[in-house]
Amino acid sequence: MPTLTLYDAVGAALTEEMRRDHNVIAFGEGIATKRHELVDEFGALRVRNTPLAEGIIAGTAVGAAAMGLRPVVDLLFAPFLCYAMDELVNSAGKLRYLSGGQFSFPLVTLAMTGAGWGVGAQHNHNVEAWFVHSPGLKVVMPSTPADTKALLKTAIRDDNPVLFFLDIGLLYQPGEVPAGEHLLALGQAAIVREGRDVTLVSYGKTVHHCQQAADQLASQGIAAEVIDLRSLKPLDEATILGSVRKTGRLVVVHEANRLCGIGAEIAALVAEHAFADLKAPIVRQGGPDAPVAASYPLEQASVPSAEAITDAARRLCST
């Protein structure tokens, strides 16, 4: 199998989808420079650099999507989505419904997020939960290059606006990516490791921390099941609930702020629908209610570690 970084998996998905459908276009602050091969293949009209103005980039994508194009826009870092909230939330997310279904908005926004580059809270802020909370939007955050390519291809074909988050810490890590056409439905979690004692649910880079924790737990005789959500909306409730009904124990892990994060949603879901099978309290591991510092050790400390996950799971299994 060919090996690609997550960054290149994005490029591969874009290339394949732009070949397949000439209505797919891409623009953003530097995409034509950084992915110049796309300009070479598809021309300067379909792949464009833009002014430094996230609002109009997103707004242009919304208008174009409603009228028949399928834009993919690169908004660089997740905190910059703050400048595009009206366009994404109030326009893309609501104008289909408010118009009684007259329009659809097949558009994808790319944004990088998370620890790894020591760039501080104005570049590193995990805001995916905002968009899960907002109607009319789908949200994806993969943990491997293979999933990135498959999910991005599906997102581009989806008729709804999809917020597609790329974990900065994973961006240049290589991984095997099946050659040719592979798609993954949005809303399908992956059980990346099976186990019967405790369920670890995560997405993005902390999936790997969960896998390391599962290794550590295995050596202590605890069989952890690890779930990679991959898409945050739609959320694969069945896989989560099925796993917790089996194991009776749940640790939810993510880098984003704990408060009102995806972990809260999953904990609530389980406390509502798998309560009878729960053998122990649910545990959430997430970022603190503080911005992320640029300083390396503080940045690293803001991310749940394999050790902390292991400890939490072990404590749960002893109750």
């Binding site: 209505n23 276009i25 009209l45 379909r46 464009r48 833009t50 002014p51 103005a53 609002g55 109009i56 997103a58 707004g59 242009t60 994508a61 919304v62 208008g63 174009a64 999507a65 409603a66 009228m67 028949g68 194009l69 834009p71 009206d86 366009e87 109030n90 326009s91 104008l95 289909r96 419904y97 408010l98 118009s99 009684g100 279904g101 007259q102 329009f103 659809s104 908005f105 097949p106 109607p135 009319g136 789908k138 989806d158 008729d159 709804n160």
Partner: protein, 320 residues
């Protein structure tokens, strides 16, 4: 239903303005009586809407905002379906989900209406981009207020449209008010057109209460957009003669300023001109008023008879 062809005589322009006024008055009365929700009416601004819309071709697309009745009716919207929408009924253009504030009617080329002030400006470049990339002929007309011009999206939109050569006719309806704020409390300049020139976009200001002047200016501007494939801006200077949102006692409005503009009411002045020029008789004028009144009466009956949306509409169309 398709867009109405442009008026081909001045009487039709007057009739459209009368229809808009009667429509708005039906809502004003209905909401005073508690039968209808309040809306942002376009009373006093009919000429600005009618003059521009009648300069457009059927294939042109319109983006508008919360104060849209004039644009929609001039484009040929069915007042019955509009009133049904205002009342949240299922026969409205948006199945009752929009209410008065974000009425889109794709079949009329009125697309992506948003009540977020400034959102029309942010979406217009994308609509125009699709038109040009998909090889469609129509230009894009973006109606926005002097208030919207104060949002950052104005700057971002004009810069991108100029840079990417997008066929957009920006139409700023400068009605002196931004809800409860007078434009002089909000704008560093008198005219939005002064801002536009900074982008190298041809911009012109026209008396928005003179429907004939607006029509002529809009025809010229639309032709320029069509020929150059580049944006232009037209600012129609007019006045919001009722409040921001019904009911509104306008206690904060300068009485002399309002009186001045009321004296220049676009309907009164254009009717007087047609009468003076012998293009309309008193009898024709009376017949026109009757015709309009009866259309609105029919529309109102239709809207009132339309049921509310079914319960399963609560989540339908949230996702495609």
């Amino acid at each position: 239903m398709t867009p109405k062809p442009p008026a081909n005589n001045p009487q039709q322009l007057l009739e459209q303005m009368l229809l808009i006024r009667a429509y708005e008055e039906a809502i004003v009365n209905g909401s005073a009586a508690g039968r209808m929700p309040g809306t942002c009416t376009s009373v006093g601004q009919e000429a600005a809407a009618v003059g521009v819309v009648n300069a457009l071709a059927a294939e042109d697309l319109i983006l508008t905002n919360h104060r849209s009745a004039g644009h929609l009716l001039a484009r040929g919207a069915d007042p019955g379906r509009l009133l049904a929408e205002v009342m949240g009924r299922r026969d409205g253009y948006c199945k009752g989900k929009s209410g008065s504030l974000h009425i889109s009617a794709k079949e009329l080329g009125v697309v992506l209406t948003s009540t977020i002030v400034g959102a029309e400006l942010s979406m217009a470049p994308g609509v125009a981009l699709a038109q040009s990339m998909l090889g469609r002929p129509g230009i894009v007309v973006c109606f926005f207020g002097d208030g919207a011009a104060c949002e950052g999206s104005f700057h971002e939109s004009l810069n991108l449209a100029a840079l990417w050569n997008l066929p957009i006719l920006y139409v700023c309806e400068n009605n002196h008010w931004q809800a409860f704020v007078h434009r002089r409390e909000a704008m560093s300049r008198e005219h939005v057109a002064e801002w536009a020139t900074g982008y190298g976009i041809p911009a012109r200001t026209v008396d928005g209460n003179d429907v004939f002047a607006v029509l002529e200016a809009a025809q010229a501007a639309a032709a320029q957009v069509r020929e150059s494939g580049r944006p232009c801006l037209l600012e129609t200077t007019t006045y919001r003669t009722r409040g921001h949102l019904e009911p509104d006692d306008q206690g904060y409005v300068d009485k002399a300023e309002l009186a001045n503009w009321l004296a220049r009411d676009p309907i009164t002045t254009s009717r007087a001109r047609l009468l003076a020029d012998g293009l309309l008789s008193q009898a024709q004028a009376a017949a026109m008023a009757d015709e309009v009144a009866s259309r609105i009466a029919v529309a109102q009956a239709f809207a009132e008879a339309s049921p509310f949306p079914a319960a399963d509409e609560l989540t339908r169309d949230a996702y495609a």
